[in-house]
Symmetry: C2
């Protein structure tokens, strides 16, 4: 075992301890756990800068060297891939059919409006519409893309707590949030694939994205047939989970290597292709355990550890405020207005909009996948703004929903039930 | 995501697929799964050598570059650390007390005799007792140490299948196998810590080993108090498992960094210090899932991937035969003879000896931890011999036990029951 490998155990210990402790602290303060985990990473990163090999105490504030950073990045990437794989596995197509058209339209506007507002806002902040260079436009679109995906986890959790999960409004919100995930992933694929060629090659990019979906669905049907046979012949066996993991990693690899699409998109598609099987929840459980025990904390902390605050100044606070505002307003406007034509009252439409504002781990995953799109100089890194968005939106979402549902006096549902999405930030058994 | 990280997904996919497939194939052939996993690694390693970036097919036989190897080694080290952490957690002190003195004596001879025979045999093979240079002696002791630890997993599995787990002979075998693990770990600590200073500094080495046990028990009592409080206040929470993981990694780090002892010894001690708590099996379950889903397959395959067969020649086959023979005879003689004075009949004593011959993942862990002790030139790498030992001993152990127990006509016990040691190679739910 060489020098670097043993130090990895130190980082694993510190990351697991700090991220869980700060995650719990965050939850105690009514904030999402992921916010605490990212902050833990920021603290670990800052403490690492104090490292001094000659000082007895400061030698313990270790800073990963290049190889160690690569190793931690690998763990963190496995983490985000597992989060998206789990999201994919949890896709429930029969739920989707119920709300059907309404949910699809609401989700589409729920992606388009915040994305457009966020991109325009970021672009204005970057140069006041004076500089139309490609890198600034890409930077702005990237920031907008972060605003696209609602956190299904936080939404479901809140609806459960208010006992409204199975009502018409609740069903519509959940279905829209799921479709929103799918659209968000497609948009992310297109945006991240712009990285290489820029938007001059947008047709090739779109063609590649399309190619990946054809590839992943085609191959997925074959894999599905295999898993179908296997779960009949060997139900609930470890091999099922392990082969599913292998498929997830294979999709992640192919997506990025051959189609220029984010690895997380591949993992998500692998999950979708294995969703709805008898053993899906069995596999998902293993994904979730492997995730929260080691990989997810590393993913969230590593975002904080590798965050660069050197360009941070006061003007950034203004950007963060605009970003959060547009992110929340965009969902309420986009989803609320598009709900109206589907027979919802004004108040119900507003409720649908408010139910969609929560952002979570997917926003950070999108950030991680597209980080390199930040314009090298005079660009804006939306990390801190994204963390603010996650914290504020996921605190605000349950508060608004509870207020809006209160008048109707709905019965309190399975608030103590098991978390449907155990990777979600506010899981009861954290 | 840089070039190296995305390739990791490829290796993860290939390793999980091949190691599980060959593991299952091995089990189907009545061999332990770990043997199949190591062979999978050997195949992956050999195929990697065919890599040719210009050939359409051969480009897919990838060979990890240096950074990628470091990342895979980190995963594999986490794997072996989790295996030993799990072993430690599963230590059952009340079982130990029952068989007490007899088991301790049997275990001690069961470690000493094969170790002595194996070391002498290897030394004879290396130079025919003509060259007493330090590196050859260390090489021989290292090979002997691999023979020390019985695989509790295979033993328990076999006793369960024959329905003899709770009989006097069965209890003695299990207790002795557990104590044998502890002694094996201590011996390993001492042997691996010789790496740095050689046996000229053996006192410092022993002092450091002692220091580590004092440190780990002292700190462990404090941690235990914390976990005791936590499991009362927050039973069955994720945080318990995550903090236990952090403790395991911290112990692994401290053992190697500050005491020059193998990381796996640290992990094992962390497990022992957390054994017997109310939430221990809850934590162990998470360790086991994280292990078999991703880390253990990488550990076993990586042994094969990084195996060097360039020095392999015909004389090695002779060595392997001697090594396997001494490993099996050593346990039967050491345990069998020392069982006799404790009121066992001749046949029962022989049964106890046969019940202790199985080797498994711990032998490979010992191999991995001490690999650098192999004498640089004209040394002997016991990897292939170790794999043969694992395969032959774990096939022979159940056969012998079944034959020996047959005459007595014992009832068939919980052969279909859940595997007590789910990391064991022959688990039913693999």
């Amino acid at each position: 075992m060489n020098f670097e490998v043993i130090n990895i155990f130190y980082y694993l210990a510190v990351i697991l301890l700090f991220s869980k402790a700060l995650g719990l602290l965050a939850r105690k303060a009514g904030l999402p756990q992921v916010a605490g985990m990212v902050v833990a990473g920021v603290i670990i990163g800052l403490l690492g800068k104090l490292h001094d090999p000659d000082n007895f105490f400061l030698q313990f504030f270790m800073k990963p060297n290049e190889v160690e950073s690569d190793v931690l990045r690998a763990f963190s990437q496995v983490g985000v891939v597992l989060i998206l794989f789990s999201s994919g596995l949890e896709t429930n197509f029969s739920d989707l059919k119920k709300s059907g058209l309404a949910a699809s339209v609401i989700a589409s506007f729920g992606v388009a409006v915040p994305m457009a507002l966020g991109s325009l806002g970021t672009f204005a902040f970057l140069n006041g519409f004076s500089d139309f260079s490609e890198d600034k436009i890409l930077n702005a679109i990237f920031a907008g893309t972060i605003l696209a995906a609602t956190s299904v986890g936080i939404t479901v959790e809140t609806l459960k707590e208010t006992g409204k999960l199975s009502g018409k409004v609740g069903q519509t919100i959940v279905s829209a949030a799921i479709i929103d995930d799918v659209i968000g992933i497609i948009v992310l694929s297109v945006v991240t694939s712009l990285q290489g060629g820029g938007y001059s090659q947008i047709y090739i990019t779109l063609l590649k994205a399309l190619g990946f979906f054809v590839f992943s669905i085609g191959l997925g049907i074959l894999f599905r047939l295999y898993f179908n046979w296997e779960e009949r012949k060997f139900p609930h066996k470890r091999r099922t989970s392990i082969f599913a993991f292998a498929m997830c990693f294979f999709y992640a690899f192919c997506a990025e290597k051959f189609f220029g699409i984010a690895a997380i998109t591949g993992a998500y598609m692998a999950g979708v292709m294995l969703s709805g099987l008898v053993d899906t929840s069995f596999v998902d459980r293993k994904v979730v355990v492997s995730g929260y025990m080691i990989f997810s904390p590393i993913f969230f902390s590593f975002i904080g550890i590798s965050a660069d605050f050197s360009a941070f100044d006061l003007s950034y606070v203004g950007f963060a405020a605009i970003f959060v505002l547009l992110g929340i307003a965009g969902k309420i406007i986009g989803c609320g207005l598009s709900a109206k034509p589907f027979g919802f009252t004004n108040k119900e439409s507003f409720t649908v909009g408010c139910g969609m504002i929560a952002r979570g781990e997917v926003a950070l995953a999108v950030y991680g996948a597209g980080k390199s799109l930040i314009a090298a100089e005079n660009g804006v890194d939306p990390l801190v703004a994204t963390i603010f968005l996650i914290v504020i939106s996921s605190v605000l979402c349950p508060i608004l929903l509870k207020l809006l549902f209160k008048d109707k006096g709905g019965k309190s549902g399975n608030a103590d039930g098991e978390n449907v999405l155990p990777l979600a930030e506010n899981g009861n058994n954290a």
